[in-house]
């Protein structure tokens, strides 16, 4: 039920490169899982509110007071491409 085009579309949304074999396998595996999961659409859930948080917490706020930041060396310590105090990345323009 998940075809090749849908798999490629979702892979692009998720920024995941999949090879041909993976695309086929993913289509089959995801379809199988979705077929099983789909059964929940048979339930009568009209008027049932969704739950995103089971134990309610409201107004978790923080005072607008500065706390120490990391020193720049720590921030860049594991950067794949530190450049002039920043994080180097390939150009968004190029493909």
């Amino acid at each position: 039920m998940l075809d090749r085009d849908q798999v490629l579309h979702v892979a692009r949304l998720a920024r995941l490169a999949l090879d041909e074999e993976e695309v086929e396998r993913m289509a089959a595996e995801l379809s199988k899982v979705l077929d099983h999961i789909e059964k929940i659409s048979e339930l009568d859930l009209r008027d049932v509110p969704p739950t995103s948080h089971v134990v309610d917490v409201v107004n978790a706020l923080r005072a607008d007071e500065p706390v120490p930041s990391f020193p720049a060396e720590v921030v860049l310590a594991q950067a794949p491409e530190p450049v002039a105090g920043g994080f180097g990345v390939p150009s968004p323009g190029a493909q």
Partner: protein
């Protein structure tokens, strides 16, 4: 077709930086002109395991704006994740408000306001 067939409808999406001392979801100080990456922490860098905590003053300012515009202030408001990839978006999602914004409606000088909501913004790449 004549000119009378069409009516221009113009919508403005205005991003307003709030004059808080710290960022929206972490306690890093806002300051301009300093060296890059000297006011960053686990949260705003999107380091694994970090979690956001909302700035109380930002909520206060957002509410003030809503009141000033005559908006309806939500009794209960939610944040959502807006997912996309870009280098200035460390977590790969922006914490914003989707269907339950802080303020709805209101207006100024005859211009209707649809909504006012809070979100984090990269401000500058």
């Amino acid at each position: 077709m004549s000119e009378e067939t069409y009516e221009p409808v113009i919508g403005l999406e205005i991003h307003v930086q709030l004059s808080t001392r710290t960022k929206m979801f972490c306690g890093c100080e806002l300051s301009f002109g300093d060296q890059p990456n000297t006011h960053t922490c686990a949260v705003c860098l999107g380091l694994p395991g970090s979690l956001p905590v909302l700035n109380a003053r930002a909520v206060h300012f957002g509410t003030m704006i809503g009141l000033a515009l005559g908006s309806e202030i939500a009794e209960r408001s939610l944040f959502h994740r807006k997912n996309y990839f870009y280098p200035d978006l460390p977590k790969g999602y922006q914490i914003s408000q989707y269907d339950v914004p802080l303020c709805r409606g209101g207006g100024l000088d005859g211009i209707r306001v649809h909504r006012v909501h809070l979100e984090e913004d990269a401000a500058k790449l």
